[in-house]
Amino acid sequence: MNLVVALIAGLLFGGGLAISQMMDPAKVLSFLDVAGQWDPSLMLVMGGALALTVPGFRLILRRPQPLLDGRFHLPSASDVDSRLVIGSSLFGLGWGLAGLCPGPAVAGLVTGALPIVGFVVTMLAGYRLMDLIENRVLDRPAPDARVG
Protein backbone atom coordinates (compact mmCIF):
# COMPACT_ATOMS: atom_id res chain seq x y z
CA MET A 1 0.00 0.00 0.00
CA ASN A 2 2.83 2.40 0.82
CA LEU A 3 4.16 1.69 -2.68
CA VAL A 4 0.86 2.86 -4.19
CA VAL A 5 1.24 6.11 -2.25
CA ALA A 6 4.84 6.46 -3.44
CA LEU A 7 3.70 5.95 -7.04
CA ILE A 8 0.88 8.49 -6.77
CA ALA A 9 3.17 10.99 -5.02
CA GLY A 10 5.79 10.49 -7.74
CA LEU A 11 3.20 11.00 -10.49
CA LEU A 12 1.94 14.20 -8.85
CA PHE A 13 5.48 15.46 -8.35
CA GLY A 14 6.54 14.74 -11.93
CA GLY A 15 3.30 16.14 -13.33
CA GLY A 16 3.68 19.24 -11.19
CA LEU A 17 7.24 19.84 -12.38
CA ALA A 18 6.15 19.42 -16.01
CA ILE A 19 3.04 21.64 -15.83
CA SER A 20 4.91 24.41 -14.03
CA GLN A 21 7.74 24.30 -16.66
CA MET A 22 10.20 23.88 -13.81
CA MET A 23 11.70 21.14 -16.02
CA ASP A 24 12.75 23.69 -18.64
CA PRO A 25 16.30 24.88 -17.83
CA ALA A 26 15.86 28.09 -19.86
CA LYS A 27 12.74 28.93 -17.86
CA VAL A 28 14.55 28.26 -14.58
CA LEU A 29 17.54 30.38 -15.60
CA SER A 30 15.31 33.32 -16.45
CA PHE A 31 13.65 32.89 -13.04
CA LEU A 32 17.10 33.06 -11.43
CA ASP A 33 18.09 36.04 -13.59
CA VAL A 34 16.72 38.79 -11.38
CA ALA A 35 18.83 41.47 -13.11
CA GLY A 36 17.78 40.48 -16.63
CA GLN A 37 14.37 39.76 -18.12
CA TRP A 38 13.20 38.37 -14.81
CA ASP A 39 10.48 35.74 -15.04
CA PRO A 40 9.15 35.37 -11.49
CA SER A 41 6.41 32.87 -12.40
CA LEU A 42 8.30 29.92 -10.89
CA MET A 43 8.05 31.64 -7.53
CA LEU A 44 4.43 30.49 -7.60
CA VAL A 45 5.55 26.86 -7.84
CA MET A 46 7.43 26.94 -4.58
CA GLY A 47 4.89 29.34 -3.04
CA GLY A 48 2.02 27.07 -3.99
CA ALA A 49 3.77 24.02 -2.58
CA LEU A 50 4.56 25.85 0.66
CA ALA A 51 0.97 27.06 0.97
CA LEU A 52 0.10 23.36 1.35
CA THR A 53 3.10 22.01 3.24
CA VAL A 54 3.41 24.69 5.94
CA PRO A 55 -0.09 24.17 7.40
CA GLY A 56 -0.35 20.52 6.22
CA PHE A 57 2.91 19.31 7.80
CA ARG A 58 1.86 20.91 11.10
CA LEU A 59 -1.35 18.92 11.14
CA ILE A 60 0.29 15.69 9.99
CA LEU A 61 3.11 15.86 12.53
CA ARG A 62 0.62 16.24 15.38
CA ARG A 63 -0.27 12.60 14.85
CA PRO A 64 1.84 10.03 16.68
CA GLN A 65 2.77 8.22 13.45
CA PRO A 66 2.07 8.21 9.72
CA LEU A 67 -0.88 6.17 8.43
CA LEU A 68 1.21 3.42 6.83
CA ASP A 69 4.45 3.38 8.79
CA GLY A 70 5.46 2.96 12.42
CA ARG A 71 7.21 6.33 12.60
CA PHE A 72 8.04 9.54 10.79
CA HIS A 73 11.44 9.38 9.09
CA LEU A 74 12.57 12.95 9.65
CA PRO A 75 16.07 14.40 9.38
CA SER A 76 17.72 14.56 12.79
CA ALA A 77 20.09 17.46 12.04
CA SER A 78 18.69 20.83 13.05
CA ASP A 79 21.66 23.19 13.25
CA VAL A 80 23.02 25.44 10.53
CA ASP A 81 26.56 24.10 10.25
CA SER A 82 29.40 24.65 7.82
CA ARG A 83 28.44 21.57 5.80
CA LEU A 84 24.96 22.97 5.22
CA VAL A 85 26.38 26.33 4.15
CA ILE A 86 29.07 24.90 1.85
CA GLY A 87 26.76 22.21 0.46
CA SER A 88 23.95 24.65 -0.28
CA SER A 89 26.42 27.04 -1.93
CA LEU A 90 27.76 24.27 -4.16
CA PHE A 91 24.22 23.23 -5.04
CA GLY A 92 23.30 26.84 -5.86
CA LEU A 93 26.35 27.15 -8.10
CA GLY A 94 25.44 24.02 -10.06
CA TRP A 95 21.79 25.02 -10.27
CA GLY A 96 22.72 28.46 -11.59
CA LEU A 97 25.07 27.00 -14.20
CA ALA A 98 22.65 24.44 -15.63
CA GLY A 99 19.17 25.62 -14.65
CA LEU A 100 18.50 22.13 -13.33
CA CYS A 101 18.03 20.92 -9.78
CA PRO A 102 17.65 17.21 -8.92
CA GLY A 103 13.86 16.82 -9.35
CA PRO A 104 13.54 18.37 -12.81
CA ALA A 105 16.79 16.69 -13.89
CA VAL A 106 15.53 13.21 -13.01
CA ALA A 107 12.08 13.91 -14.50
CA GLY A 108 13.86 15.24 -17.61
CA LEU A 109 15.32 11.77 -18.24
CA VAL A 110 12.07 10.97 -20.06
CA THR A 111 13.13 13.30 -22.87
CA GLY A 112 16.25 11.19 -23.43
CA ALA A 113 18.21 14.42 -23.99
CA LEU A 114 21.85 13.45 -23.54
CA PRO A 115 22.95 16.58 -21.61
CA ILE A 116 20.21 15.84 -19.04
CA VAL A 117 21.14 12.15 -18.84
CA GLY A 118 24.76 13.21 -18.36
CA PHE A 119 23.77 15.74 -15.69
CA VAL A 120 21.98 13.02 -13.70
CA VAL A 121 24.89 10.58 -14.04
CA THR A 122 27.48 13.10 -12.80
CA MET A 123 25.05 14.25 -10.11
CA LEU A 124 24.78 10.70 -8.74
CA ALA A 125 28.57 10.36 -8.93
CA GLY A 126 29.04 13.62 -7.01
CA TYR A 127 26.48 12.53 -4.43
CA ARG A 128 28.27 9.22 -3.81
CA LEU A 129 31.70 10.86 -3.81
CA MET A 130 30.61 13.34 -1.14
CA ASP A 131 29.14 10.47 0.87
CA LEU A 132 32.53 8.76 0.67
CA ILE A 133 34.41 11.95 1.58
CA GLU A 134 32.16 12.44 4.61
CA ASN A 135 32.59 8.85 5.80
CA ARG A 136 36.31 8.52 5.14
CA VAL A 137 37.61 12.00 5.84
CA LEU A 138 35.22 14.38 7.58
CA ASP A 139 33.73 11.94 10.10
CA ARG A 140 36.97 10.12 10.89
CA PRO A 141 38.04 10.73 14.46
CA ALA A 142 41.26 12.76 14.63
CA PRO A 143 44.20 10.38 15.18
CA ASP A 144 45.73 12.65 17.81
CA ALA A 145 42.53 12.94 19.81
CA ARG A 146 43.79 10.39 22.32
CA VAL A 147 46.03 11.73 25.02
CA GLY A 148 49.05 9.76 26.18
Binding site: L11, G14, A18, P75, G94, G96, P102, Y127, R128
Partner: protein
Protein backbone atom coordinates in the same frame (compact mmCIF):
# COMPACT_ATOMS: atom_id res chain seq x y z
CA UNK B 1 0.67 19.16 -7.06
CA UNK B 2 4.20 19.16 -5.67
CA UNK B 3 2.88 20.28 -2.30
CA UNK B 4 0.19 17.59 -2.39
CA UNK B 5 2.83 15.00 -3.26
CA UNK B 6 4.90 16.04 -0.22
CA UNK B 7 1.80 15.88 2.01
CA UNK B 8 0.94 12.34 0.84
CA UNK B 9 4.48 11.07 1.40
CA UNK B 10 4.59 12.42 4.95
CA UNK B 11 1.00 11.60 5.98
CA UNK B 12 1.02 8.01 4.69
CA UNK B 13 4.63 6.88 4.51
CA UNK B 14 6.25 9.21 7.02
CA UNK B 15 8.83 10.18 4.40
CA UNK B 16 10.21 13.50 3.24
CA UNK B 17 9.71 13.94 -0.52
CA UNK B 18 13.26 15.14 -1.14
CA UNK B 19 14.44 14.19 -4.59
CA UNK B 20 18.19 14.38 -4.01
CA UNK B 21 17.89 11.97 -1.08
CA UNK B 22 15.39 9.62 -2.70
CA UNK B 23 17.40 9.34 -5.90
CA UNK B 24 20.89 9.75 -4.44
CA UNK B 25 20.41 6.78 -2.13
CA UNK B 26 18.48 4.68 -4.65
CA UNK B 27 21.48 2.53 -5.54
CA UNK B 28 22.91 2.59 -2.02
CA UNK B 29 20.13 1.06 0.08
CA UNK B 30 18.54 -2.38 -0.25
CA UNK B 31 15.20 -4.14 0.04
CA UNK B 32 12.02 -2.29 0.93
CA UNK B 33 13.91 0.97 1.38
CA UNK B 34 15.05 0.77 -2.24
CA UNK B 35 11.69 -0.35 -3.59
CA UNK B 36 9.65 2.67 -2.48
CA UNK B 37 12.34 4.99 -3.87
CA UNK B 38 12.27 3.17 -7.18
CA UNK B 39 8.46 3.31 -7.36
CA UNK B 40 8.51 7.05 -6.56
CA UNK B 41 11.04 7.67 -9.33
CA UNK B 42 8.95 5.63 -11.78
CA UNK B 43 6.01 7.86 -10.83
CA UNK B 44 8.12 11.00 -11.24
CA UNK B 45 9.16 9.96 -14.74
CA UNK B 46 5.60 8.80 -15.52
CA UNK B 47 4.08 12.10 -14.42
CA UNK B 48 6.44 14.07 -16.63
CA UNK B 49 5.96 11.65 -19.55
CA UNK B 50 2.16 11.78 -19.31
CA UNK B 51 2.23 15.56 -19.43
CA UNK B 52 4.60 15.43 -22.39
CA UNK B 53 2.30 13.06 -24.25
CA UNK B 54 -1.10 14.53 -23.52
CA UNK B 55 -0.58 18.27 -23.21
CA UNK B 56 -0.70 20.53 -26.20
CA UNK B 57 2.55 22.29 -25.37
CA UNK B 58 4.49 19.12 -24.55
CA UNK B 59 7.54 19.26 -22.33
CA UNK B 60 9.27 21.71 -24.66
CA UNK B 61 12.61 21.98 -22.86
CA UNK B 62 15.28 24.46 -23.90
CA UNK B 63 18.86 23.62 -23.04
CA UNK B 64 21.09 26.67 -23.07
CA UNK B 65 24.12 25.24 -21.35
CA UNK B 66 26.89 23.39 -23.19
CA UNK B 67 27.20 19.68 -22.46
CA UNK B 68 30.58 19.88 -20.66
CA UNK B 69 29.16 22.58 -18.39
CA UNK B 70 26.03 20.48 -17.80
CA UNK B 71 28.19 17.55 -16.71
CA UNK B 72 30.22 19.78 -14.40
CA UNK B 73 27.09 21.38 -12.96
CA UNK B 74 25.54 17.95 -12.30
CA UNK B 75 28.65 16.86 -10.42
CA UNK B 76 28.63 20.03 -8.29
CA UNK B 77 24.90 19.61 -7.58
CA UNK B 78 25.57 16.03 -6.45
CA UNK B 79 28.39 17.08 -4.11
CA UNK B 80 26.38 19.97 -2.69
CA UNK B 81 23.05 18.23 -2.16
CA UNK B 82 24.74 15.36 -0.32
CA UNK B 83 26.74 17.70 1.93
CA UNK B 84 23.70 19.91 2.62
CA UNK B 85 21.35 16.89 2.88
CA UNK B 86 18.79 18.28 0.50
CA UNK B 87 17.79 20.26 -2.55
CA UNK B 88 14.86 22.40 -3.65
CA UNK B 89 12.33 19.74 -2.65
CA UNK B 90 13.84 18.45 0.60
CA UNK B 91 14.86 21.82 2.03
CA UNK B 92 12.80 24.24 -0.05
CA UNK B 93 9.40 22.52 0.05
CA UNK B 94 9.52 19.99 2.90
CA UNK B 95 12.05 21.57 5.27
CA UNK B 96 10.47 25.00 5.08
CA UNK B 97 7.16 23.16 5.40
CA UNK B 98 8.38 22.06 8.83
CA UNK B 99 9.68 25.60 9.41
CA UNK B 100 13.16 24.43 10.41
CA UNK B 101 15.79 27.21 10.55
CA UNK B 102 18.22 24.78 8.89
CA UNK B 103 16.12 24.43 5.75
CA UNK B 104 15.22 28.10 5.63
CA UNK B 105 18.95 28.92 5.73
CA UNK B 106 19.75 26.27 3.10
CA UNK B 107 17.07 27.56 0.73
CA UNK B 108 18.15 31.18 1.14
CA UNK B 109 21.76 30.17 0.41
CA UNK B 110 21.16 28.01 -2.65
CA UNK B 111 18.70 30.42 -4.21
CA UNK B 112 21.03 33.33 -3.50
CA UNK B 113 24.08 31.57 -4.91
CA UNK B 114 22.11 30.35 -7.94
CA UNK B 115 20.95 33.90 -8.65
CA UNK B 116 24.48 35.21 -8.21
CA UNK B 117 25.82 32.52 -10.54
CA UNK B 118 23.35 33.51 -13.25
CA UNK B 119 24.17 37.19 -12.73
CA UNK B 120 27.92 36.58 -13.08
CA UNK B 121 27.63 34.24 -16.05
CA UNK B 122 25.04 36.30 -17.97
CA UNK B 123 25.82 39.89 -17.11
CA UNK B 124 29.49 39.96 -16.17
CA UNK B 125 30.94 37.19 -18.33
CA UNK B 126 28.26 37.32 -21.00
CA UNK B 127 28.09 33.54 -21.43
Amino acid sequence: MIGLSALLMLAFNGRIAGISGIVGNLFHVRGADRLWRLVFVVGLLGGAALYGLFSEAGLNLHLETSTPLMLTAGFIVGLGTRLARGCTSGHGVCGIGRMTPRSIAATAIFMGVAGLTVFISRHLLGV
